[in-house]
Amino acid sequence: MALRSSDDDEAFRDEVRAFLEAKFTPELRALTARQAGVFADGDLARRWHRILFERGWIAPAWPTEYGGPGWTPRQGAIFQEECARAGTPRLPGMGLSLCAPVIMRYGTDAQKAFFLPRMLSGEHYWCQGYSEPQSGSDLASLQTRAVRDGDDYVVSGSKIWTTHAQFANWIFLLVRTSTEGKPQAGISFLVSPMDAPGISVRPIISMSGEHEVNQVFFDNVRVPVANRMGAENEGWTVAKYLLEFERGGGSSGVPLSVALERLVDIARNQPADGAASLYEDPVFRRDLARLEIEVMALAWTERRLAGRRRDGESIGNAAASLKKLCASELGQKIEDLSMRALGLYALPDQRGALGTGANESPIGPEYAVTPTARFLNGRASTIFGGSSEVQRNILARVALGL
């Protein structure tokens, strides 16, 4: 294995940079810099999705037969690095990264032919119906019911913490199709258009003041049986397959490194007691160095486990949980230090300057707009996608055999 990039890889990097230079316009950069959510707002996400789609680069991880670019893993990593460095919008991955692998593995030919191209083009904007008000960490206890009626299921119940349901036109959801046996045994995986009669969406405003998540209600919604992925009552297997992608997808090293660079930028511009800037304050520097080392440790662990996973060692199956656990906890530490680096400018309510609809100028320096909102939003990262406690339960079972 070589650390040095080949000439081809460097040429590819230049190609990506040139593309970003041309297409990630100053206007888009300015809009993106004001985003503090987990994903970019719907309008911005749609615009950037379209730009990548037109270049053929929207789905780096997809096989070429479905429209992937056919990159090597190294090229995929370079693309991710360059996008992260440039600070491009974080696209919601519910369709391309989560539902797509499920359709590719469990979908019929007809389902593949219908959904995958529309996912790629951005015509379909997806959201994820997993959690319910009474089923969070204990996901298998979910109660949204789907009762067979001819060629349809009739779905009733409610999903919650549904990110971007207000922008989405399709939802994938777990439903209960049987109450026999273990809770896991009676679950099925369905997909439905969001404009189906009987679906309604209630916004949930987060503590940062943003609207990213929702509650989605299903009141006797008819979903064709043809919209089921995998066999009836075998949705739990499908659901777990998807979670591997939610927890383990992509590299967390790059986005965390970029978050650290943003922090360094703040620190260089912030005053400090007895030092030219906060960046030169020894206590701060030590905190920063610890975080840098932790990011290295995670990035190299991901690389190391990638090989093990391919070889089918049991540790490989735990890799997704390990990554989710470490990346979320480390991300929170970086958010925490970034917010503290701002001093008093961590406190102003910047909602007027945040998001694509922002029309107010920042209070204090430009870099003070997002860290507090990111800090607040980031508190959710150790809860969604399986809480840290759930990940530790999984690791205890899968990696340690406990």
Binding site: A289, M296, A297, L298, R304
Partner: protein, 385 residues
């Protein structure tokens, strides 16, 4: 990008692992530990003759296998897993790391002795006032005719009581922290004027404080002159530091698996204590630290093997991370073994003590955290320029 071992490295790992599980059981090790001299000449001979690992890191022209830092990593991880007491680190990695960079004919000759199994080394560089800095040197080498005369004191020299040769850093000029005027000389520990105060360290290994009182150094025993010595010392210490990170990876792996096995056996409140979630989560935290330590060790070895520009910085990051992991995982392993954990009977206390020693050897986590910061700043200013 994956971090897979080559086929040759896998073979090396498996053959050493097999040898150690056959010949270096915990009981066999205990005999060696409690006996005199505290290491086994029989095992050492087997390292040279049966396994051939004493030549792993040397050029084929010197009778070695031509391996690099990754091969050393593979070996050290296995030696750590079996908690080997023999002075492989001191002789092959550190002593050999210095010698293979020295042009002096005596260096080549000494390497041959290592490969053949009759030469063991110790690098006497640390001094009582220096804490973890190699360049804080007060030991003097004064010219006297064609020879030099060595005078000074070296502290906590690992492997010295078992060594047939000492490599000593000394000053022919320059002030206390100057890199100018530092030389490396080869000294016979039995030469007139050398006195060792030998002792065991907390992990049962051998070390000594050494006084050099006007020890005569013939011209051919100067291994490296002041033009090259600082670079040689830094490179060899980086390799040795990466090597103890790999040793630690093997040790941490054992601490995790021993703890998991023990908690499955031990019953309290009518159930195996492994069934308690608070213990499970603590073991997962140990596992995560152990995995990340192995990855950091691999990163450091890879950067050294590729002579990457950020090699030293990567080693500092690895040692800072691994050092803290040694303390945390070690402490948790003891805690989860309950009172049995603090006895001499169980392997866990022995692994714990070596882990704690590694945290300090070649510089503590704090030392390497500071070094990492300084090297990061250095790289940032170079990039800016």
């Amino acid at each position: 990008m994956s971090l897979d071992l080559t086929e040759q490295q896998t073979l090396l790992r498996d053959s050493v692992g097999r040898f150690l599980s056959d010949r270096y059981s915990f009981e066999a090790r205990r005999q060696i530990l409690n006996g005199d001299p505290g290491w086994s000449p029989t095992i050492w001979r087997a390292f040279a003759e049966e396994l051939g690992i004493l030549g792993a890191a040397f050029a084929e022209s010197a009778g070695g296998l031509g391996g690099d830092a990754l091969d050393t990593m593979v070996l050290m991880e296995e030696l750590g897993r079996a908690l080997v007491l023999e002075p492989f680190l001191e002789t092959v990695v550190l002593g050999g790391g210095l010698l293979k960079r020295c042009a002096a004919p005596l260096a080549t000759e000494t390497i041959r002795g290592i490969v053949e199994g009759h030469t063991r080394l110790a690098f006497a560089y640390s001094e009582p006032q220096a804490r973890y800095r190699w360049d804080d040197i007060l030991t003097q080498a004064r010219p006297e005719g064609a020879a030099q005369v060595l005078r000074g004191r070296k502290s906590v020299v690992f492997g010295a009581p078992a060594a047939t040769h000492l490599i000593v850093s000394a000053r022919t000029g320059g002030g206390r922290h100057d890199h100018e005027g530092v030389v490396l000389v080869l000294v016979d520990p039995k030469a007139p004027g050398v006195s060792l105060r030998s002792y065991r360290t907390l992990d049962g290994r051998l070390a000594a404080d050494i006084d050099f009182h006007d020890v005569r150094i013939p011209p051919e025993a100067v291994l490296a002159t002041s033009e090259v010595a600082p670079g040689i010392i830094e490179a060899a210490l980086d390799e040795a530091t990466a090597a103890v990170c790999a040793e630690a990876a093997g040790i941490l792996d054992r601490l995790v698996s021993d703890t998991v096995a023990y908690t499955k056996e031990r019953r309290q409140f009518g159930a195996p204590i492994a069934s308690f979630q608070v213990l499970q989560h603590r073991m997962v935290n140990m596992f995560v630290k152990a995995q990340q330590s192995a990855a950091m060790s691999h990163m450091a070895a890879l950067k050294l093997a590729e002579a990457a520009a950020d090699g030293a910085r990567s080693v500092a990051a690895a040692k800072a991370y691994v050092g803290e992991a040694c303390r945390e995982v070690g402490q948790s392993a003891i805690q989860l073994h309950g009172a049995m954990g603090v006895t001499d009977e169980l392997a866990v206390s022995h692994y714990f003590k070596r882990a704690i020693a590694i945290e300090t050897q070649f510089g503590s986590a704090e030392h390497h955290l500071n070094r990492f910061q300084q090297l990061s700043l250095g790289m940032a200013s170079k990039t800016a320029a």
